[in-house]
């Protein structure tokens, strides 16, 4: 697995114990591990190939430490990411505040990074509606405002999890072509010049 080639980097962001790792675990291994305290399951890095149309795209999914003490370093994590899944706990309004923080950070620092807003632990709400602290429409409005996709998932039942990552892969596939045609064209010209300049310079 370590030698696997990865097309796109996807970072998981979100407050501690919102279920970032469970989400990845459910998606990659189709399982949900039950424990008294759910913040540690699965590995921190997974490479997952996804079939998109007639192509296979491999997502490198990066789990991140959500604790506030590492907040200052989060920028190092999402550098160069093509997609970010910003998670919040549907039953915890403070986690949504933190999600807003990350969205702001991403918008400031990584303009090429697509944002996916993901409310987790939907199964808890289906069990007891009064637990919901984040209104679906509020989150939806916020998502539209920032131009993000919005999902409500449950890692326990698996609902919406595959859809989320499928969407990530499809979006990447669609935008990848734009990058290929846009960027290297400009770069090449510069490179050629600097390269030759330096070569002749030696002589």
């Amino acid at each position: 697995m370590s030698a696997m080639r990865v097309d796109a980097k996807v970072v998981m962001l979100g407050k501690e114990s919102v279920g970032k790792t469970s989400l990845v675990e459910r998606y990659v291994h189709h399982r949900f591990l039950v424990g008294p305290y759910q913040n540690t399951i699965g590995a921190a890095f997974v490479a997952k190939p996804i079939q998109v149309g007639d192509k296979v795209i491999t997502l490198g999914i990066w789990d991140t430490a959500g604790s506030e003490r590492y907040e200052a370093m989060s920028r190092i994590y999402y550098r160069g990411a093509r997609a970010a899944v910003v998670c919040y706990d549907l039953t915890d309004s403070s986690s949504f505040q933190r999600a807003r923080f990350w969205v702001k950070e991403l918008q400031n620092c990584e303009e090429h990074c697509k944002i996916y807003l993901c409310g987790t632990k939907n199964d808890l709400i289906e069990g007891d509606r009064s637990l919901r602290q984040i209104d679906y429409h509020d989150a939806q409005d916020f998502a539209e405002e920032i131009g993000a996709q919005h999902f409500e998932t449950s890692s326990k039942t698996g609902s919406n999890v595959d859809d989320l990552f499928q969407k990530v892969a499809e979006d990447y596939n669609n935008t990848a072509f734009q990058y290929m045609t846009e960027e290297p064209g400009v770069d090449l010209g510069q490179k050629k010049d600097s390269y030759f300049y330096s070569c002749c310079h030696n002589n």
Binding site: S2, V6, A8, K20, N39, T40, A44, G60, D63, Y77
Partner: protein, 507 residues
């Protein structure tokens, strides 16, 4: 007298040390590695000869492939406009080089007496410290090895020669850019990677695995050769940063597992084993030359960390467990030249690997760990600013945090020390008492013997010589005489029962 004085000055040398190492009887010279002029010339020539032959072989091969490639390139020139001008330049350069080598060879071959080549490998290793010539012409043994491996790898490839030529030319051109800033160097190398991989991409018709395996080898070859020039270059403040982080980590020696919330239980032997391995791996990173190998060290280190967490928690680890543990490992390991290594990898590693793959993930975590250590304050360890200051200044230490209900963990340690000191003084007192008693016993014993002696004396005096035995008059010895006198006095001896004999009872 003379030799004594010179010895004191430290310039005394043994006669044998001055002689030629070859043992020819002439005097040697340190500039000639302890050989005499004659032996040195012989030795040096042999090395040069070999070098020249190698160079020549390489030049010849390059020329050959140049000619081979020439025709085909003309056909392809239209489709690949980016290489043509460059390869023309390259062509000129190789020709120039080969002609140069030719003349040098001519210059050397007739005069050389060509001593019998018996042990070329040993001379090969000696060649590296040779003082003359530029370093690019005298690559050390390991870069030679890298070149050979690279050539071997490229041999089966259709365009292998061209790749090799371009890499070689680029690597050599880098030597002239030594004065450039590290970022510019990095840009050059990254541009080269990008250009080459783009070209390979079209060549291999989009087989990315293939391109990547070639790029790995390219990176390995180039960075092995360039390592000395571009690792921690003088134009940057990498070294200063290295020292700063090293000092910082040393100052943070008191940070405990509990403060960082590391979910690792080092009491378990298997876990502490993994921790040790992780520390070893992250330290080993400095000894590698190729960015990819350095990254592999970090990945290995991370795997050991995951293992340690898994055993401690009996669950697989997430990033929330991993990052603190990595920080802890870095603090414990204090890896040499940490910043230089990170900068070097960032600048010269293949970008695709660094940005997306698994290695990249662990490397990013390492960068985070370092950033955390740099910025670390009391708050990030759940300590008050005062406590943090105390620990940093070394006035207190948290290493017995559970000690005796003391308010600050530092006093717990102190109370431990006091307790031990008390115990020691108690022991001392008791020992003193024992010694005193022993002395008293000794004097008592002396007194007692004196007393006994006195008593015997007084008894002897009060009963003086009442037995008058005729034998006593002889000078042979009064004591034996007295004994026999006592015996003889004992008249009723025969009437006593026989003395008790020890008897053995069965059972």
């Amino acid at each position: 007298m003379m030799s004594q004085r010179s010895e004191r000055r430290g310039i005394h040398l043994d006669q044998s040390e001055l002689l030629c190492k070859k043992g020819c009887g002439y005097y040697g010279n340190t500039a000639w590695q302890g050989l005499c002029s004659k032996c040195w010339r012989e030795e040096n020539q042999r090395e040069r000869q070999k070098q020249i032959q190698e160079d020549w072989a390489l030049a010849e091969r390059l020329q050959r492939e140049e000619e081979e490639a020439y025709a085909s390139r003309h056909q392809r020139a239209q489709s690949q406009p980016t290489i043509t001008p460059f390869s023309k330049f390259e062509e000129r350069k190789t020709k120039e080089k080969s002609s140069k080598v030719n003349t040098v060879t001519k210059f050397f071959t007739p005069s050389a007496k060509t001593p019998p080549k018996k042990d070329t490998t040993s001379f090969d290793t000696q060649s590296s410290p040779s003082p003359s010539s530029s370093s690019s012409r005298h690559p050390p043994a390991d870069t030679d090895h890298a070149t050979r491996e690279f050539i071997d790898f490229l041999k089966p490839l259709k365009s292998g020669r061209e790749i090799f030529k371009q890499c070689r030319a680029f690597t050599e051109s880098m030597v002239y850019k030594r004065d450039m800033g590290a970022d510019e160097l990095s840009e050059c190398v990254q541009d080269f990677y990008q250009n080459l991989s783009d070209r390979l991409q079209t060549q291999f018709k989009g087989s990315t695995e293939h391109v990547e395996s070639v790029m790995d080898e390219v990176e390995k070859y180039m960075m092995t050769r360039l390592y000395k020039e571009v690792f921690c270059p003088e134009t940057t403040d990498d070294e200063k940063k290295d020292l700063a982080i090293q000092k910082r980590i040393r100052a943070l020696h008191w940070v405990t597992i509990e403060m960082l919330c590391v979910p690792v239980d080092e009491e378990i032997p298997e876990v502490s084993d993994s921790v040790v391995k992780a520390i070893t791996d992250v330290i080993e990173m400095d000894s590698k030359r190729v960015p990819k190998d350095k990254l592999a060290c970090i990945t290995r280190c991370s795997k050991h960390i995951f293992n340690a967490i898994k055993i401690s928690k009996k669950e697989a680890a997430s990033a929330d467990d991993f990052l603190p543990t990595l920080i802890y490992i870095v603090l414990k390991a204090n890896p040499p030249r940490l910043q230089s290594n990170i900068q070097y990898i960032t600048r010269f590693c293949n970008p695709s690997r660094l940005m997306t793959g698994e290695d990249g993930y662990y490397f990013t975590n390492l960068c985070c760990a370092v950033a955390f250590i740099e910025k670390l304050d009391g708050q990030s360890l759940n300590l008050s600013p005062e406590e943090f200051e105390l620990y940093m200044s070394g006035q207190a230490s948290p290493h017995w945090p559970q000690g005796a209900g003391a308010s600050s963990p530092g006093s717990a340690a102190l109370s431990q020390v006091h307790k031990r000191l008390d115990l020691l003084t108690g022991l001392g007192e008791r020992q003193d008492r024992v010694i005193e008693k022993a002395r008293q016993l000794e004097s008592d014993l002396i007194d007692w013997t004196d007393e006994v002696e006195q008593k015997v004396q007084s008894v002897l005096e009060s009963f003086p010589q009442e037995t008058h035995n005729p034998t006593a008059t002889t000078a042979s010895g009064t004591t034996s005489a007295a004994a026999s006198a006592i015996d003889s006095d004992n008249v009723e001896n025969e009437r006593l029962p026989p003395p008790l004999q020890p008897q053995v009872f069965a059972g």
